[in-house]
């Protein structure tokens, strides 16, 4: 509904996705009960567009992410990437899709292989996905983009701080020059300077390279800065799909209103206590 207006084929298009969860028939309690995790999800992403996906835990964010990453199949509905159908298949058959769509995990510390050096970690997807290019140049370029030092190339994940690990995870995705990045809580657990850096990186990637983003978070307060459009997922359905500012100003759904209020809370506290007159108290970090 959003994308097709521009006349260009959307980068990623999901139509009528349904996903049910069946408890195993052998479970001795509540055997064979089914629950609908996602119902009628329609979503299209244009090149360079940044979309936020917000919802509380249990809303179906992770399930939707798994479907979009073609890790699991939908029970109904289709996902297409630039007009080509995507469905879970062998690693080999999905190489083309993996080169287009990459994922930034929420908890990089546990998703990076502790036995590999940073260089190997970033090179791994380039090798596995048969990227025909100078890998060393790609690695250097990716490191440079996320603002990490070359000296870290030999380090193992255990030696990295949380912010560095997060940036290695981003560099791993960026090295492939993907068309779409799916980021799960990309800013949580990062301190302010690193946060600003990651936000700047996302800005650059979407403006200069036309990379699209789908940013998943349970907290709406990161959305206005990062995304032009925000979807609210509630109980397995998309209840709002509007420009972020409109969503903040006139939330239509009660659930959205609650999320918007929660996003304002921290800010409201500081509004009650005025900042000291001397601005020098807050040095630019």
């Amino acid at each position: 509904m959003h994308g097709l207006a521009s006349g260009e084929a959307p980068l990623l298009c999901a139509t009528g996705l349904y996903k049910h969860l069946h408890s195993p028939s052998l479970a001795f309690w509540r055997a064979r009960t089914a629950r609908t995790i996602l119902r009628d999800i329609n979503l299209s992403i244009q090149p360079g567009e940044r979309i936020g996906l917000a919802g509380v835990s249990g809303a179906g964010k992770t399930t939707l992410l798994n479907l979009l990453l073609a890790l699991k199949g939908a029970d109904a509905g289709t996902i297409t990437c630039q007009g080509r159908a995507v469905r879970p298949a062998s690693v080999r058959a999905l190489r083309w899709y993996r080169r287009q769509v990459q994922y930034i995990p929420q908890d990089p510390a546990s998703s990076l292989d502790p036995r590999m050096s940073v260089r190997d970690l970033i090179r791994e997807p380039l090798v596995r996905l048969n990227v025909v290019d100078n890998h060393t140049r790609r690695i250097d370029e990716a490191l440079d983009r996320v603002g990490l030092d070359q000296t870290l190339l030999r380090a193992r994940p255990a030696a990295l701080s949380g912010g560095q690990a997060q940036r290695v995870a981003i560099a791993r995705a960026v090295a492939l020059r993907p068309r779409l990045l799916l980021a799960d809580e990309p800013l949580s657990g990062l301190d302010l300077p690193v946060r600003a850096r990651v936000m700047q990186l996302f800005d650059d990637m979407s403006c200069l390279d036309g990379t699209a983003f789908l940013i998943i978070s349970h907290d709406l307060s990161v959305m206005p800065r990062l995304c032009e459009r925000t979807l609210i997922l509630h109980d397995g359905a998309i209840i709002e799909d509007r420009p972020t500012t409109a969503l903040f100003e006139t939330p239509k759904h009660d659930h959205t209103r609650a999320l918007v209020r929660a996003a304002y809370q921290d800010h409201a506290i500081t509004a009650m206590v005025p900042a000291p007159a001397a601005p020098s108290l807050y040095p630019v970090l």
């Binding site: 709406l220 999320l259 209020r261 304002y264 809370q265 921290d266 506290i269 009650m272």
Partner: protein, 278 residues
């Protein structure tokens, strides 16, 4: 004021494998007070909580004094502490705090039978009332379930019910909201606010790195960095005028918590941010 301190920590030093992690930490929590212990990750917050609760592993050496309700408990392990010096505890990881093989009801009636000497039936009723007080819908159904079948928010509320059921003088909550989504966080904070901090409810030591949550719950904060106390004041004061480098960073993060957000929505009342003032 300091005479009726529920918790008094004096010159607390913690060594892990011979390395000092916390040094010379002094603070107190008065009866019916809510105090927040703030610090960056790795600053020794959770080790301090472990020392206060008597849950430190053997490799951790605790020196100094921890006084709960007038009893010196620094060298006593949690299970050997005298009754009046026991405190309630709420942790971040609710999966490991509850027994996965025992139904919620059976776990929750335990403190009522053991500490208050109720019969099995009336303990069950008391547990049910407790769950209703925690805003849990369909409490009777939840009582039958095992902890793994519940959502994170429900489990955290059950942990709080368990902590409150023993009617301790102090509750230590170690990052109880970190693993929850924003709306559940709000609810857990609201419940904690309602259940603690008056003269007939327990005092609260809230351990967190989230200054926003701390502001909505506590009046006073103790900020530690690198195992040392760097600032201790009311939160209103700290937000208006943070002194230490780390507190400035925290307040800055709070002020810039929502970059690019439009001004308050028409119906939003800034007071709902709920700064607790002493």
């Amino acid at each position: 004021m300091t005479a009726n301190a529920v918790l008094r920590v004096d010159e607390l030093c913690i060594h892990v494998d011979g390395q000092p992690v916390v040094s010379d930490l002094c603070f107190h929590v008065a009866a019916g007070e809510r105090v927040c212990l703030l610090g960056p990750s790795g600053s020794g917050k959770s080790l301090t909580a472990g020392a206060i609760l008597g849950l430190s592993p053997r490799s951790v050496q605790v020196d100094g004094s921890v006084c709960i309700n007038g009893v010196e408990v620094a060298d006593i392990r949690a299970t050997r502490r005298p009754m009046q010096s026991r405190s309630g505890m709420v942790f971040q990881d609710t999966h490991s705090a509850l027994n996965p093989l025992v139904s919620v009801g059976a776990q929750l009636r335990e403190p009522f039978m053991r500490f208050h000497g109720l019969s099995r039936k009336s303990a069950m009723e008391a547990a049910m009332a407790m769950l209703r007080g925690m805003n849990i819908e369909r409490a009777d159904e939840v009582m039958q379930r095992s902890p793994a079948e519940l959502s994170g928010g429900q489990r955290q509320r059950i942990c709080m019910a368990l902590a409150l059921a023993c009617k301790p003088a102090l509750i230590v909550a170690d990052e109880p909201t970190t693993a929850l989504d924003v709306l559940t966080q709000q609810e857990v904070l609201k419940l904690l606010r309602e259940c603690t901090g008056t003269h007939d409810t327990p005092a609260l030591l809230f351990i967190s790195h989230d200054i926003g949550a701390a502001c909505r719950l506590c009046e006073r904060a103790v900020i530690i960095d690198d195992g040392r106390l760097v600032e201790s004041n009311t939160l209103t004061h700290i937000i208006a005028n943070p002194q230490h480098h780390f507190s400035r960073q925290l307040v800055r993060a709070l002020r810039e918590s929502a970059p690019g957000m439009p001004p308050y929505a028409a119906d939003f009342d800034a007071r709902e941010g709920l700064l607790c003032t002493a």
